[in-house]
Structure formats: C-alpha cells, structure tokens
Symmetry: C2
Subunit: 246 residues, 2 copies
DNA sequence: TCCGCAAGTTGAACACGTTCAAATCGGAGA
DNA sequence: TCTCCGATTTGAACGTGTTCAACTTGCGGA
C-alpha cells in the first residue's frame, strides 16, 4: 500500500497516489485536482457528457485545459470520478440497511432500490456512461483491473448481506451468492439504463418481482430435487467466473 | 412495410430507401454508397474503429468527406453496416444447421459457435462496437427501434430452432424460449468481448457447459416440481420484456 | 539569500468528426 | 439542342479532445 514502484502505463503522473490515502493530501496539486473533479461532476450532472467540454470544465475550475490533462489522461477518466461519487453515496445509503433486521429479500430490494435512487437524477448521463464502461479496455469497465477495488467494494455489500442472512440455502451457493448478486445488479443497471418508462418505473417493478423470485430460488437450493440444478449452475459459474479471478 | 410516409428525423436523405429493396438499385448514388460501405468495412477490419478516420474512408472510396456524410449521418452509422455484414454471414452459416436433424443442444451449440467464429477475426473491433451499441439512443443498440428488424431476424433463428425441436417442455416456456435464447446470446457476446483468453477459448468452454445446462433446465420445465420455478420465471420475463413489445 | 529542480501550469497547435454553402452533374421536358 | 432542377459532390471551416514545448512556482539545500 502506498508503494511507489509500479509502472502505471496509461495514467497521469498525479494518479500515482490515487486509490487510498489522498484524503489527507492538501498539497497544491491535490487542490487543483479536486477543483477539476468538482467542476466535472457538476457540469456532467447539469449538461450531460457530450455537452460538457474539457474547456468548460477547465474554465469552471479556473485552470487551463492542459492542466486538466496533467491530472487526468482523458475526459473518460473524469467520468470514473463521477461514478465513484455516486458509488460512495450508494454505500452510505446502504449501510443502515445492512444493519437492519429485515429479511434477505427486503434488504436486497432496499439495496437495489437505493442504487436506482442514487442514479435516477443522472439517467441520461448513465446512458453515455454505460457506453464507456462497456468497452473492454476502459478503466471504468466493471471487469477491468482498474476497477477491481470498486468491484470488491460492491461485492462486499452483497457479502455482508448474505453473511448476515438466516435463510437456509446450499452452502456452495452461499459462497458464490455475493458474486451472483453483483452480476444480477449489473444486469439490472443495463436494464435500467435502457428503461424509457417515466421515472424508470418498469425497472422498479422488475426489482419487486425479481427479488422474491431470487429468494425463492435460493431457498429451493437446499432441496434435494434442486441439487443438480444448483450444482450444475455453480459449475457453470465457476467456468464463467473462476473463484481465483478478481 | 415499405411505407414511405415516416419522419426519419436524424437520418440522411439517402437512408430513405434503406432496409429493403436496395439490391436492385444501381443508380449513381447507390454505387457511391456501396463504395463507402466497402471501404469502411475493410478499413475497420484492418485498423479498428478509432484508427480508421472518416477522411481515410472517403479517400479509399474515392469520394470527399462531405460526400460520406451525405449517405451516413455519422461514423457510427458505418459501424452498423459492418455489423449487418457479419449478421448476414452468421445467418448463412446457420441455415444448414437449422435444417440438420441433430438435437436441440447440438444445434444451439453450433449456432452460438458459428456466431463466435464469424466475429473472431474482429474481437478488438467488437470491443469498440459494444461500447457504441450499449448506449441507449444508438441505432446500433440491440434494443433500439432502428435495429428491430435485425432483432427479429436473430430471434427468428431461435424461433425456428425451438419450433423444430422435439424436446418436451413447458408450452409457455416454449413460446418464450426464442427470446430467452436471444437474451442469452446477448450475454454471451458481452462475455466474449471481455474474454481475453487466447482465441477466446474460455467463451467456447462456457458455451459447451451452458448449453447442456440450458437443455437440462428446459427439459425439467415440464416436471411438476419445477412448475413454480418455470411459471414465476416466465412472469418475471413478462415484466422484463412484455410479449407486446418488439 | 540564492540556486536548482521537480512539480505544476499554460495556451497554441494538431487531428479528428461533423457541418454547410456552394459547385457540379445528368436526365426530363421544351 | 438547350434549359432547368433535384440529386450528388466538394472542400473549407468549426468545435472538439488531446498533445506538447515552454514557462512559472515554490521549496530544500548551499
């Protein structure tokens, strides 16, 4: 942690100290960096991705265009800051839910709902975001190494949810359920982004229907008749997403 | 079908006669159009999406940049021509498979494998393509109105597969299976695009494991114990993708 | 106090996708 | 044959993301 010796090919010089332990950094550079991030987030939220130009972001932050590129390798990199911001808010909202004593399904629904709520004001922006996140090499891709931390953070939410649930289920399924839920959430996000119903109410309806179904499936997994279904499903998951991989 | 009275806000003038019945058109405009498409497809395949500039495409086709924009509203539109080209090839390869008398699973595997084979030479390009296709408004999006025809074409493949299969299954599932298979294929494509194993062999392994599992699930659907699982699953599908919608 | 140097900053310049007013083409009708 | 007019074509120009050589800042050590 905090190691300096790594080759970060595509990243900007200032990204060195990224990830952790930047909270306490009050150096000039860090202030500039945060000013750029703040402007970017605000303008993205106000005008969307395309309409927000790098020149506008720089001007709003009171720096030159070139300076923004000293801290961020590309406009896309600023998008991931926006993403992190919302991720943090989702985490904050989810915290009390995990502590509550309600059922597995109720808490899962609440978690997914809060996710939708956090993103709701940025539905249009999310459409562009997903286009960036979907391309394999992108650091914003949910499968990329760069976002492994965010991925672990997200799965850790589901991990805590699963660990604190009393529901009986196949133990092997239990071990893998957090990842499965993360995948399901990913699918939900894709669905939500394409949901053009007012207020994305169809997505909310899908959540209300899908979670009890999931709960039912999870509960069924410990029954003998469902063993082959469960086992084979987990074998498939192992091929799709080996336990070893991040 | 073939109606002329529609308001095609964003499309180019020449796109009017798109879709059907352009095969016989040998007018000057059509020749130019095809020259541009041919150059675009070739250059995309050779150098990828980003590195292929509109100027290069135009030069290669022997026309001016502006002329390319007379036929295509944007660079992205040329991507969908590339997509159509591969779609056509996949269809051609799939045709003999549908006619063969092998089992449901074997034919499904063959269909999916051929899809991978057709795209294999363009794995890198597909990474960019998916980024374009993932954004909601895009005409290349698999969920868009613009690609409803391609979508129906694709589901029709699975429709024929399902219709010609003897396997016993829940009748309601049978009615919806083509759409489910299409969704599964979509997921497979996303997986394949992100598969960095050499030759995307992991994706092939997943297909080999997933198809028998699917076959097993489909077969199980007619058993009494699996009825609630099937029924509730189909209810969920109805919420996700109403029968009425395209 | 001053020097050296790394960190930070600048804005002009570049390449690209896209637009558009103007030029050209070619066939239908006189 | 000539004229007209819509279809087609042109290339300069615009706005954008990105790069880069040069400049400025401020701090640690002589």
């Amino acid at each position: 942690m905090g190691s300096v010796t790594h080759t970060d090919n595509g990243s900007s010089p200032a990204a060195e100290q990224a990830a952790r332990g930047r909270a306490a950094d009050t150096s000039r550079g860090e202030q500039t960096r945060q000013a750029i991030v703040a402007s970017a987030i605000r303008l993205f939220g106000e005008a969307g991705y395309e309409k927000t130009t790098m020149r506008a972001i720089a001007a709003d932050a009171g720096v030159s265009v070139g300076n923004a590129y000293y801290y961020f390798p590309a406009k896309e990199a600023l998008v991931s800051e926006f993403y992190l911001e919302l991720q943090r808010e989702h985490l904050a909202r989810v915290e009390p839910i995990l502590g509550s004593g309600t059922s597995f399904g109720d808490r899962l629904t609440a978690i997914l709902r809060e996710g939708i709520e956090v993103w709701a004001p940025h539905h249009a922006f999310a459409g562009r975001f997903i286009g960036i996140a979907a391309v394999p090499g992108s650091p914003v891709s949910p499968f990329s190494d760069a976002s492994s931390e965010a991925r672990e953070l997200a799965t850790s939410i589901f991990h805590r949810l699963v660990d604190s649930t009393e529901t009986k289920m196949d133990p092997q399924l239990r071990a893998r359920l957090p990842q499965l839920l993360w995948l399901a959430q990913l699918g939900l996000v894709v669905y939500w982004v394409h949901d053009t119903t007012p207020g994305q109410r169809r997505t909310r309806a899908v959540v209300d229907l899908a979670v009890p179904y999931l709960e039912y499936l999870v509960g069924a997994s410990r029954m003998k008749i469902f063993k082959p279904l469960t086992t084979r499903g987990l074998t498939l998951l192992e091929a799709v997403w080996p336990r070893a991989a991040g």
